[in-house]
């Protein structure tokens, strides 16, 4: 009985203590957050948050993204040769930071996990005062961080994310994507597959089992079935499986003559290598050569797959061997800084940083609603992808898509992709309404 009384008294006292302690920090917290919008830069610097995978399956991409971000910060602050600032069609950026404020940055490790990525982004927003978050090398992470940024009112410039959902059903007013998506891969790759392999083919899909894999499988299926191909089967494989032989064996007996690998990163390197080891590429099925297609390609993956990538078709956002002035300027300054050419992940991250800075300059403020308005419907050129439009309806960039093939005779360890065709923007433009989703409100929030 006496125990019960003790409890109640203890709780009462604890309650009183909580009240006092609650009141104390709140008073100064309120002062710190009295501003027009979240993390309004007040000093002489403006802080950007670079949230990339530094460990896990996409760590290679993450490291390259970080290099590109650091280069972009240098160029924005007027150091180095300026890179694509010289070729960018908008001349608002003067190399004196953003709106006269020097650009500083903070970095974080997403670990390719939604939880860790959000924690890291929150740290940047709450502790370091980042005005913009960018990065992510997985669609799951990008969707998660984009949702967080919408809640806190901080602009998110997506890095490498290829799922339709990022600017489709999960699109957000505060999220922007320069990278192309799986649907556009399908639109670009479809006709080329028809040209190369004919209209009478039987396809077998192996798909990474998460948002990006699903949307890519669907998009490629639609494109190939439009050509008259038949889809024999579509099998989901767990992410990071390592050994794909149990998934590859049934392919040979299924009567399929094209294998489509909806894998990325190390998964793609493993599944492709094993498929080649199974002798698939030397096979004849239905009187035709057996073919393998990897819809999303990157040079870093090609490097991992080595010999096996030769002759394989796929799409990519950008490749360093492009001959336009912007690409050459970027490759040159990246090469001078780090000694090797940039990957497509590096390119899209660099461009996103510049686009954000430019939008702030044109809007004349860091206030997110105005910056968003400056980015929506923005038409630009000189960033390595030809004429590009930041579409207002879904915040997806509309630009050319490259169809590439693994180089048969590489001249260097970086010369791994041959550009088969640059598919013009008109052909990969689609109706933003097909994926649904809602951008949500743009009003500024104080955090």
């Amino acid at each position: 009985m006496s125990r019960l009384i003790m409890t109640r008294r203890g709780l009462l006292k604890a309650g009183a203590a909580s009240g006092v302690a609650l009141a104390a920090p709140m008073s100064f917290v309120r002062g710190a957050y009295a501003e027009d919008f979240c993390n309004m830069p007040t000093g002489s610097t403006v802080t950007l948050g670079f949230n990339v995978p530094q460990s896990g399956a996409y760590a290679d991409e993450g490291a390259d993204e970080l290099r590109a971000y650091q280069l972009a910060v240098k160029h924005l602050n007027g150091e180095g040769d300026g890179g694509m600032l010289g070729t960018f069609s908008s001349k608002a950026l003067k190399g004196n930071g953003i709106l006269g404020k020097k650009v500083a940055y903070v970095t974080g490790d997403t670990q390719t996990k939604s939880d860790a990525a959000r924690a890291s982004a929150k740290r940047m927003i709450e502790k370091d005062g980042a005005i913009m978050i960018t990065g992510g090398s997985s669609s799951g992470v990008a969707v998660a961080v984009q949702g967080l940024c919408q809640e806190t009112g901080v602009i998110f410039m997506a890095g490498l994310t290829h799922s339709n959902d990022t600017t489709g059903k999960d699109k957000k007013r505060y999220g922007f994507r320069h990278f192309f998506n799986a649907y556009q891969s399908g639109l670009a790759l479809g006709p080329i597959l028809g040209e190369q392999f004919g209209a009478d083919r039987r396809a077998y899909h192996l798909t990474a089992d998460y948002t990006w894999g699903w949307t890519q499988e669907e998009s490629i299926k639609n494109a190939t079935e439009g050509l008259g191909w038949e889809t024999v089967n579509a099998v989901r494989t767990p992410l990071g499986a390592g050994d794909f032989s149990q998934y590859l064996t049934p392919v040979l007996n299924s009567g399929a003559d094209v294998l489509i690998l909806n894998h990325y990163g190390k998964d793609m390197v493993n599944s492709l290598t094993q498929a080649v080891q199974f002798g698939m590429r030397a096979k004849q099925v239905n009187g035709k050569n057996f073919e393998i297609v990897v819809p999303l390609f990157s040079r870093l993956m090609a490097q991992g797959a080595g010999e096996n990538i030769k002759g394989i078709l796929g799409t990519t956002n950008w490749n360093w061997s492009l001959e336009d002035d912007a690409s050459k300027a970027f490759v040159k300054s990246f090469g001078q800084e780090y000694g090797f050419p940039p990957s497509q992940a590096a390119h899209t991250c660099y461009v996103q940083t510049l686009l954000y800075a430019d939008a702030c300059e044109r809007a004349g403020t860091f206030s997110p609603p105005q910056v968003i308005a400056a980015l929506e419907g923005f038409e630009f050129d000189g960033m390595g992808n030809g004429k590009t439009l930041y579409r207002a309806e879904d915040h997806q960039c509309m630009k050319d898509v490259l169809v590439v093939r693994g180089n048969e005779n590489p001249t260097s360890q970086f010369d791994l992709l041959d550009v088969v065709k640059i598919v013009p923007r008109d052909q990969v433009t689609y109706d933003p309404a097909i994926f649904g989703g809602d951008l949500g409100p743009a009003d500024a929030k104080s955090c």
Partner: protein, 381 residues
């Protein structure tokens, strides 16, 4: 002082004061921002709950992250289906995790020692895989379960029409992000501390300690230990579920990676680092690990250059190169080194270090009563 500390109201008051003033005394460490403070409180609950099982009964579970995940999913579903109020979410999360713990515990507790650990690990991995792919309609797979504008939210809809954009979690109108979210978690932590302290000092807790020291002997004295271990397992699962639901309260998203075996391993590390079987040791361990994960991992070369700016150029670069191994993406390394040092030199964790310091200041021998075993020996006499 010692007498005072063992008095319940005083201990509780002191604990509350320390927890609630965290935003102030963590400021010099650069950890006084809401997200990390919330994590401190939440993972302290998680580790405290784990300690009720591991510290008292000696059963080492390698699958506690499963309960954390179940709690999160249940809480997010409560936000999606019913209301954005956090109380139902917390209740659902805790209750669901308790139910799952009952099922898993019923099966796993038939074995002890390494077999028990392996069984729990297997169950946790099964839950992870279920959440990751098989149960995608419920868990949304790798992308994670998120709120959408189309969610029914029956209770909220009945009270008010839907606003623009996604709603945020709230406690009767008070938004649960930022500092208010921390104070909510901190209140939960204080309640959990109270419960955990009560369990440690209760006859039930002593029974559990008896099971830890020699289960066979307990059985021979005619004591059926199974219900006691199962109860401890369920309580500890409910603590984990509460922690999981609080994760969803402060950030309404649940991902499968929360259930991965690394997450289960993390809580074991936290407990061992802080001190197994002590009341506040696991909490300290949780704080250290979360601090490393969030602060050390964010140091980049630029930040290091500033830290060493007082050194001359050449020396500075050397210092930066050397220390960059241990910060940024190398934070795991620092944590590993720290963990090794503690396990080798302080097998009882940080709490043992604390006791040693106290003993040293008392001039040897005097501080013996400070340790947990002495306190628990009393009723046995």
């Amino acid at each position: 002082m010692k007498q005072l500390l063992s008095k319940e109201p005083f201990a509780l008051l002191l604990f509350s004061a320390v927890i609630l003033t965290m935003p102030i005394w963590l400021a010099p460490l650069g950890a006084n921002y809401p997200d990390l403070l919330q994590k401190f409180a939440i993972y302290a609950i998680f580790a405290m709950g784990f300690n009720i099982l591991f510290g008292l009964t000696g059963y080492l579970s390698f699958g506690h992250a499963a309960f954390l995940g179940v709690g999160s999913y249940a809480a997010v579903w409560s936000f999606k289906l019913f209301t954005m109020n956090v109380l139902p979410a917390v209740l659902f999360g805790t209750a669901f995790a308790g139910g799952v713990a009952l099922l898993i515990g019923f099966v796993c507790l038939r074995r002890s020692g390494i077999y028990f650990s392996i069984l729990t690990l297997a169950f946790a991995q099964m839950f992870y895989n279920l959440a990751y792919s098989v149960m995608t309609p419920i868990t949304n797979g790798e992308t994670g379960l998120q709120l959408t504008l189309q969610d029914p939210r029956i209770i909220d809809r009945a009270l008010a029409p839907a606003g623009q954009g996604l709603p945020s979690t709230e406690l009767f109108g008070l938004s649960m992000s930022g500092y208010s979210g921390f104070y909510f978690c901190a209140t939960m932590l204080i309640i959990c501390f109270f419960i955990s302290r009560r369990i440690f000092k209760s006859p039930f807790g002593l029974t559990l300690l008896g099971i830890k020291s020699n289960q066979t002997r307990m059985n021979y004295t005619g004591f059926n230990t199974r219900p006691y271990t199962l109860t401890a397992f369920v309580i500890s699962g409910m603590f984990a579920g509460l922690a999981g639901s609080l994760l969803a309260v402060t950030d309404p998203l649940a991902g499968a990676e929360r259930m991965q075996w690394t997450a289960s391993g993390e809580v074991v590390l936290m407990t061992i680092l802080g001190g197994v079987g002590t009341l506040i040791g696991p909490m300290l361990g949780a704080w250290i690990i979360k601090y490393f994960e969030n602060i050390f991992s964010s140091f980049n070369d630029d930040a290091l250059q500033q830290v060493y700016s007082f050194l001359p150029e050449g020396l500075r670069n050397m210092a930066v190169d050397l220390s960059s191994l241990f910060v940024g993406e190398g934070w795991h390394l620092t944590l590993g080194v720290l963990f090794m040092l503690i396990v080798i030199f302080l097998p009882g964790g940080l709490m043992e270090g604390w006791r040693r310091i106290v003993r040293r200041f008392r001039g040897g021998g005097g501080g013996e009563g400070e340790s947990a075993p002495a306190a628990t020996a009393q009723p046995a006499e």
